[in-house]
C-alpha cells in the first residue's frame, strides 16, 4: 500500500508540473466562461482514474481509499489545481457507496468514477457551516417526495450533473431525526441554480428547489435516518479538504523558504535573519504535526468511517490553523511583491481562507471535537 501511494504521489506531482502548476488556476480564473475548473483538463484527470479513487472496482473505480485520495488532493492542493473532486469524487462517491441503495449507486457511481458525471454536495443553507440545521423540506407522499428550499455556496454547483442534497423529511430544522439525503439530477424540473464567485476563483452556486419531484429511487441511505450518513459524508469531505489544505501549506511554505534563501536585504539573504528563521522553524513543526493528524483522519475513514468524527475534526481544525498561519507568513515574508496580482501568494491566501470556511472552520471543529469527546 505504501508503495502504491508513493507511485501515485509521484505521478500526480509530475502531471501537475507538466500542466504548469498554478498556471492552471490562473487560466481558469481568467476565462469567466468556465465553471471554476477546466472540463478539458478534468477529462484528462478522469482518464488517469483520479475521479474513481474512492469508488469500488465493480463500479469502475480503483478503490485506493482515503489515503489514496489524500495523496491526490495534497499534490493537487500544492499548486491549487482546480478540479471538482471534493464534492463529486469524495462526498458524493462516499455517500453513494455507503448508502446501501443499489438504484442510486448504479445510476451515478460509474459516471462519477469515470468523470463523465459530476456530483456536488448541497448541505449548508447559510454562510457559515451549520449542518446541524437542515430546513429544506422534502414532503413525503407514499414513496414520492416533493422538495422545496434553498442551498447556498454549493461547491462546483454550476458544473454538477447531480446533487447530493440533505433535506428534511420530518421534524423541525434542528431535529436530529427526520433528515434524508437525495441524489437530485441537475436536470430535474423545479431545480434552479445561480453562480457565485468567491475569491478563490473556483465555482460555487446557489441552488433553489421548488417542488422538485423525487421517488424512493432517488434516496441515498435511510429515509428520516440520514443524519449519521450525512455526518459520515461530511467527514469524508472534510478530511479531503484537510488533505488539500496540507498540500497548500506545504507548497506555500516551500515557496517562502525559497524566497528566504534568495531575497537579499541589508547585504544578506533574509533567511539568515534569526527572527525569520525561528518563524520558519515554527511553521515546519506545525506542518509535520498537522500531517500526522490529516493522515490519521484519512486512515480512520478507511478503517471505520462511522467513528472517525473526532479524528477528522482534529485534522480539519489543525489544517485550518495551519493554512491561516502559513499563508499569512507567506505574504508577510515575501513583503510587497506578495501584494501584487502577478505573484502567487495572494492565490494561496485566498484559497486558504475559502478552505478554512468550507465544511467548518478551525473553531467549529475544535468545538465539535470537544463535543465528540464528551465535554
Amino acid at each position: 500500500m505504501h508503495e502504491e501511494l508513493a507511485i501515485l504521489r509521484d505521478s500526480v506531482a509530475a502531471w501537475v508540473d507538466s500542466g504548469g502548476g498554478v498556471r492552471m488556476l490562473r487560466a481558469v480564473r481568467d476565462r469567466r466562461d468556465l465553471p471554476g475548473f477546466d472540463p478539458a483538463i478534468f477529462a484528462v484527470m478522469a482518464e488517469l482514474g483520479w475521479a474513481g479513487v474512492l469508488v469500488a472496482e465493480e463500479f469502475g473505480g480503483s478503490g485506493l481509499g482515503f489515503r489514496g485520495m489524500g495523496v491526490l488532493l495534497e499534490e493537487l492542493g500544492r499548486h491549487l489545481v482546480p478540479a471538482p473532486l471534493i464534492g463529486s469524487a469524495v462526498a458524493a462517491a462516499s455517500a453513494l457507496d455507503w448508502s446501501g441503495r443499489p438504484p442510486v449507486k448504479h445510476r451515478w457511481l460509474p459516471g462519477i468514477a469515470e468523470g463523465s458525471a459530476i456530483a456536488a454536495l448541497a448541505v449548508d443553507e447559510g454562510a457559515r457551516h451549520t449542518p446541524e440545521r437542515i430546513a429544506l423540506r422534502a414532503e413525503r407522499t407514499g414513496s414520492r417526495f416533493a422538495v422545496s428550499g434553498t442551498k447556498v455556496f454549493v461547491l462546483d454547483g454550476m458544473a454538477a450533473d447531480v446533487f447530493v442534497v440533505a433535506a428534511r423529511t420530518d421534524g423541525s430544522p434542528d431535529a436530529l431525526f427526520g433528515v434524508t439525503l437525495f441524489a437530485i439530477p441537475a436536470s430535474a424540473a423545479g431545480l434552479g441554480r445561480a453562480p457565485i464567485r468567491l475569491i478563490d476563483s473556483r465555482g460555487y452556486a446557489t441552488l433553489s428547489l421548488e417542488n422538485v419531484r423525487l421517488t424512493e429511487d432517488d434516496v441515498v441511505g435511510e429515509v428520516d435516518g440520514g443524519r449519521a450518513l450525512l455526518d459520515q459524508v461530511l467527514d469524508a469531505a472534510r478530511a479531503a479538504v484537510a488533505a488539500e489544505m496540507l498540500g497548500l501549506a506545504v507548497q506555500a511554505f516551500d515557496a517562502t523558504l525559497d524566497y528566504l534563501r534568495v531575497r537579499v536585504q541589508f547585504g544578506k539573504p533574509i533567511g539568515a535573519f534569526q527572527a525569520l528563521q525561528h518563524r520558519a522553524a515554527t511553521m515546519f513543526g506545525r506542518i509535520l504535526l498537522t500531517r500526522c493528524l490529516v493522515e490519521d483522519a484519512l486512515d480512520a475513514l478507511d478503517s471505520d468511517p462511522a467513528t472517525a468524527g473526532a479524528r477528522v475534526s482534529a485534522a480539519k481544525s489543525a489544517a485550518g490553523d495551519l493554512v491561516n498561519l502559513v499563508t499569512r507568513e507567506m505574504v508577510q515574508l515575501h513583503g510587497g511583491i506578495a501584494m501584487t496580482e502577478e505573484h502567487d501568494a495572494g492565490l494561496y491566501l485566498k484559497r486558504a481562507r475559502v478552505l478554512e470556511a468550507t465544511l467548518g472552520s478551525a473553531a467549529y471543529h475544535r468545538e465539535r471535537f470537544a463535543a465528540l469527546c464528551g465535554f
Binding site: 447559510g126 457559515r128 527572527a275
Partner: protein, 398 residues
C-alpha cells in the same frame, strides 16, 4: 486642567461648525467611503468644492501649519484635536494626503523658505497631490540600499532609476523622492528631491494588487531633469530627512481618518447580525466572543495610546518611542479584526463579485486582502521591531 478645558471648547466648536457647514450630501457613509478610497484624487462636484472651500477658509485643512502658508497656526495638541474632532463630528479633511501628513511637516522642518512658500499653500488648498518615491524593487525593508541615481549636471540633477510601490503615482502631480547622489556611501549617499511628475522621462505603470485595485505603481525615471532648487536639505541629507518623514508616516495620530473600507461597525454588532444571540442574549459563539472582546480591548488600548500621543507633552521622546509600537499595533489589530470578520461572515466574507453579496461585504473582503499590506509597508512590522529593539530598548547590535 485649563489647557484641557480649552481643547474641549475647541472640539465643541469644531462639532458645531461641522453641523452648520458640512454639506448634507457628503454625510452619507458611502460618499465618505468613496472619498477615502479615492483620496489621492480629490473628488470633484459642487458640494465637494464647497466643503473644500469652507474648510480652507477656516484654515482647518492644515490646522497645525503657520498661518502665512494657509495653516491654522495651532499648536500640536490643538491641531490634533481639530483633526480628530472633524472625524468624530462625521466629517473629514478633503485635502488630507501625503502632502498634509508627510511632505508638509518635512518641509516645515527641513525646507528652505522658498520651498515652503512654493509647495505648502497648494497642499493647504488641495491643488497638488504628492506621491512618495522611496521604495525600489531591490530596496524594500532595506530602504537605504536604493539605487535610483541623481547625477549633477550644472544647475540640475539627471535622475534615472525605478521606484516601486509608489502609492497613487498615477494621480500625483509631484513626487518626493529619495535618490542616490553618491554611490560610494550607503546612508550618506542619499538625497531628498522634489520632482514634478509632468517632467519628460517619467513613466508610471500601475500594479494590480491581490485586492483587485491598482493603488501602487512602478515609476520609471529615464534621464529626468530636476532643478537643484528642488533639493531638500543638503546633498546627502536624504536619509536623515527620510527617517523623520517616516515617523510622520508611521504615526497613526497624524492620520485621523478611517483606515479601511468595508463593514466599519463595531465587531460585536456585526457578529450579532451574522451569528445571532442565544436565549441569554449573548453572542451565540462563545469562543468567538472571547476573540472579539480581545480585539476590541486591544483597539481601545491603541485608541488610548494615540490620544496620549497627541496630548500635551507628547512631543518628547516618549511620543517618538510610541510611533513604532502604535504602527505595529494598529496593523496587527486591524488585520486580526479582518480575520475575525471573515470568520464571522463565513462565505459572505469571501465573495469576489455577484449579487449574492452586498457592497459592504465585498468591500470587507477587499479590505481584508488590501490591509495585509499594513504590516509590510511604511516600514514592516519586522523593521519596526528592529527599531524598537535597537533605538528604544538599546539592545546590542553585535
Amino acid at each position: 486642567m485649563s489647557a484641557d478645558r480649552e481643547l474641549d471648547g475647541l472640539r465643541a466648536s469644531v462639532r458645531e461648525w461641522v453641523e452648520a457647514n458640512f454639506p448634507a450630501s457628503l454625510r452619507d457613509a458611502r460618499e465618505q467611503e468613496r472619498f477615502f478610497q479615492s483620496m489621492p484624487m480629490y473628488p470633484t462636484g459642487a458640494d465637494w468644492d464647497l466643503w473644500k472651500a469652507r474648510l480652507i477658509e477656516k484654515r482647518w485643512t492644515a490646522p497645525g501649519w503657520p498661518a502665512e502658508f494657509g495653516g491654522g497656526g495651532y499648536g500640536p495638541s490643538a491641531s490634533g484635536a481639530i483633526a480628530m474632532a472633524l472625524v468624530q463630528a462625521g466629517a473629514f479633511n478633503p485635502v488630507a494626503g501625503n502632502g498634509t501628513t508627510m511632505l508638509g511637516p518635512t518641509l516645515l522642518e527641513f525646507g528652505t523658505r522658498d520651498q515652503q512658500e512654493r509647495h505648502l499653500p497648494p497642499i493647504v488648498r488641495g491643488e497638488i497631490v504628492w506621491c512618495q518615491g522611496f521604495s525600489e524593487p531591490n530596496a524594500g525593508s532595506d530602504l537605504a540600499s536604493l539605487s535610483t541615481r541623481a547625477v549633477e549636471d550644472g544647475g540640475d540633477f539627471i535622475v534615472s532609476g525605478q521606484k516601486m510601490w509608489t502609492s497613487d503615482a498615477h494621480h500625483a502631480h509631484w513626487c518626493f523622492c529619495l535618490v542616490r547622489t553618491d554611490p560610494s556611501r550607503k546612508h550618506a549617499g542619499i538625497s531628498f528631491l522634489l520632482i514634478d511628475m509632468a517632467s519628460p522621462g517619467i513613466a508610471v505603470r500601475p500594479i494590480r494588487t491581490i485586492a483587485g485595485n491598482s493603488h501602487f505603481c512602478e515609476v520609471f525615471f529615464n534621464d529626468v531633469r530636476v532643478s537643484k532648487e528642488n533639493l531638500v536639505g543638503k546633498l546627502g541629507d536624504g536619509w536623515m530627512i527620510a527617517k523623520r518623514l517616516l515617523q510622520f508616516e508611521r504615526d497613526p495620530t497624524l492620520r485621523p481618518r478611517r483606515q479601511f473600507v468595508g463593514d466599519a461597525r463595531p465587531l460585536d454588532q456585526i457578529a450579532r447580525d451574522y451569528i445571532g444571540c442565544s436565549e441569554d442574549g449573548r453572542l451565540a459563539d462563545a469562543a468567538l466572543r472571547d476573540r472579539i472582546a480581545r480585539n476590541m480591548i486591544d483597539a481601545e488600548a491603541l485608541r488610548l495610546l494615540q490620544t496620549r500621543m497627541t496630548g500635551d507633552g507628547a512631543t518628547g521622546a516618549g511620543a517618538t518611542d510610541a510611533i513604532s509600537v502604535a504602527k505595529n499595533a494598529r496593523a496587527a489589530i486591524q488585520q486580526e479584526r479582518e480575520e475575525l470578520l471573515l470568520e464571522i461572515m463565513g462565505y459572505r466574507g469571501l465573495g469576489e463579485a455577484g449579487a449574492e453579496f452586498d457592497d459592504v461585504e465585498l468591500e470587507t473582503t477587499r479590505a481584508f486582502l488590501w490591509n495585509k499590506a499594513m504590516t509590510i509597508f511604511s516600514g514592516s512590522t519586522e523593521i519596526q521591531n528592529n527599531i524598537i529593539a535597537k533605538r528604544i530598548l538599546h539592545l546590542p547590535t553585535a
